[in-house]
């Protein structure tokens, strides 16, 4: 059984039919990427998984449990957390408080403390800025914080929405190195990216999304070598 499975999911914004029957799976321990142009429906897919949007049709399953029956905040305790597009850190809370919010659903004080230390080891910059208000962080640091905040939930699967957006190349490398590192430690990741080149580099498998429909699926290698993907997403 796949860890995460979407089956024929249709989501709407009012009358806008944003997802037109998405089906995908993520196996335990995989990095799966969802690539596609701006407006393809990548973020909508993650919002539907996280319960911010209710699909009008179709199911989302985590280890076989139907997630669409849960509210957004309950889905986190089910083991799914999202690092949203544009980071969405709490800019008036301190760095530490942001990380605490990531662990909001947890009660294991000792485990939370250990995970906080892990996040600080992963991103020493955050430790330096521990008590600083998060709004004063640079874009790269904010992405580190958003990622660390997600990890604090100790999720079964981490959903990441365009972590490279708006970052300088050095920082993009750092974030993608972290993704590899996390995956090597066993973290399952569903990675949404417009930067297909980078995403296919860290992913095991990928799906290509166009206007709410999956048009291609395959291993990262297959997608990298696919002429259509090369043409449309990898700059020829």
């Amino acid at each position: 059984m796949a860890l995460l499975e979407l089956e024929n999911v249709h989501s709407y914004y009012g009358n806008i039919h944003a997802l037109k029957g998405i089906s995908l799976t993520v196996e335990e321990g995989e990095v799966v990427t969802l690539i596609g142009a701006n407006g393809a429906g990548k973020s909508t897919t993650l919002k539907t998984i996280s319960g911010i949007l209710q699909p009008r049709q179709g199911v989302v399953r985590l280890e076989g449990r139907n997630l669409t029956e849960y509210k957004a905040h309950e889905i986190v305790s089910q083991g799914v957390i999202q690092v949203p597009e544009g980071r969405r850190i709490f800019s008036r809370l301190s760095v530490r408080e942001n990380l605490e919010m990531g662990a909001f659903t947890r009660k294991d004080t000792a485990g939370i403390k250990a995970d906080m230390e892990k996040v600080f080891t992963l991103f020493p910059r955050l430790l330096e800025r521990e008590n600083q208000v998060a709004g004063t962080l640079s874009g790269g640091e904010q992405q580190m914080l958003a990622t660390g905040r997600g990890l604090m939930a100790r999720p079964r699967i981490l959903l990441m929405d365009e972590p490279s957006m708006g970052l300088a190349p050095v920082l993009v490398d750092l974030i993608f190195d972290t993704i590899k590192e996390l995956n090597e430690e066993g973290m399952t990741i569903l990675l949404v990216e417009q930067n297909a080149l980078l995403a296919l580099d860290v992913a095991d498998r990928g799906y290509v999304l166009e206007t709410g429909t999956i048009v291609l699926a395959g291993s990262a290698k297959e997608l990298r070598e696919n002429p259509q993907v090369k043409e449309a997403y990898l700059g020829g």
Partner: protein
């Protein structure tokens, strides 16, 4: 030279400055005249300030309810004055019963705590019901809709209280242990005012610690900033909103008992004026800002207490004390015109729901 000046500032700016300057001159002139005449002794000024602090801390407690709710929902809960009334008016009947049985004479502290508990529970319930019934269904409606609903709810509650508790003005029984004064550091203070100030400070410090240090308080700040991101972290946003109304209601309930200690009288419509004054205090301090509401309340309380004797007396106004409410509302208008961001806060219109 003059032309460049006029290009940089438009006429409205200049008119505003002139109004501001004129007001400043009037205030300074009035105060100078009063002080020159020397009608009041320094003891009297000190009493004005202490009374101002006492009523200001009541305003501050009510103002916190406006500011907490605004911080989370970007909405002014105009029925908050009636949340305040519900607690203190209900507790009045308990106060009378306790006084008649002789219980409050013997155990005045316990009796005060009972009244406090009653007022807090009632005000909290009114606030939570208000959220559940009147505001939650309108969460995604245009911003004017919940505002109008709040005004409607305010009238509904006023007339409900009148129907349930009668239309007359009722007077809280005196607590004989609290008549007279205490002397702190050589300063003589009315006992009721001392209790009001101390209790308010305790509540405000408690609230500040709750918001800054506890997990629930941090979740409240996270929800205030970004509801969707908060939900994505596993925070139950609806529950945090209910908690916020409950907290604001509890503070208003406590403020009601303190208000009754200062002013004694209660009636179904009593929440309106302190409600608007507390709203003024919240705007003064920067709506949505917790320390701002506290400072705004204290500031307004003192201005209202000092203003009539200090400024209006000097201007030769006959019964300056009758104008104390006018001072509060003038302050509201002035703040909205000259500094809508308040002393510490952000622009009223800057954040969107």
């Amino acid at each position: 030279m003059l032309q460049r000046f006029f290009r940089k500032y438009d006429t409205t700016d200049i008119v505003m400055w002139l109004i501001g300057a004129a007001l400043a001159v009037i205030v300074i002139y009035g105060a100078a005249r009063t002080l020159a005449v020397g009608k009041y002794s320094s003891d009297v000024w000190r009493d004005f300030i202490i009374f101002g602090l006492a009523q200001g801390s009541v305003y501050a407690l009510i103002a916190l309810g406006y500011t907490l709710v605004y911080g989370i929902l970007f909405m002014i809960n105009f029925a908050h004055g009636e949340v305040f009334t519900g607690g203190v008016f209900t507790a009045y009947f308990v106060a009378v019963a306790l006084a008649n049985s002789g219980f409050s004479d013997e155990h005045w502290i316990l009796s005060l705590l009972i009244l406090l508990a009653v007022a807090v529970v009632v005000s909290m319930s009114v606030a939570v019901l208000l959220e559940r019934i009147a505001y939650r269904p309108l969460r995604n409606a245009p911003r004017l809709v919940p505002l109008i609903t709040a005004i409607g709810a305010s009238f509904f509650l006023q007339y409900t209280y009148r129907g349930l508790y009668g239309s007359g003005v009722k007077t809280y029984p005196d607590i004989k242990q609290l008549s007279g004064t205490w002397v702190f550091f050589g300063i003589r203070i009315l006992r009721t005012q001392a209790v009001v100030i101390v209790a308010s400070v305790v509540l405000m410090v408690g609230l500040y610690i709750y918001v800054q240090r506890t997990k629930a308080g941090k979740a409240m700040r996270a929800v205030a900033e970004d509801k969707e991101a908060a939900a994505l972290m596993g925070i139950d946003v609806d529950r945090v909103i209910v908690n916020t109304f409950a907290l604001g209601g509890a503070l208003a309930g406590a403020a009601g008992i303190l208000y009754a200690m200062l002013f004694k009288q209660v009636n179904a419509f009593m929440g309106f004026i302190p409600g608007i004054k507390a709203f003024t205090a919240a705007v003064l301090g920067g709506i949505g800002n917790v320390p701002g509401a506290m400072l705004g309340g204290l500031f307004l309380g003192i201005v209202e207490s000092l203003g009539p004797s200090l400024v209006l007396d000097g201007l030769g106004i006959r019964s300056p004390y009758q104008l104390k409410d006018a001072i509060a509302f003038l302050m509201l208008v002035l703040v909205l015109i000259f500094r809508p961001t308040g002393i510490l806060g952000e622009r009223l219109s800057e954040k969107k729901a």
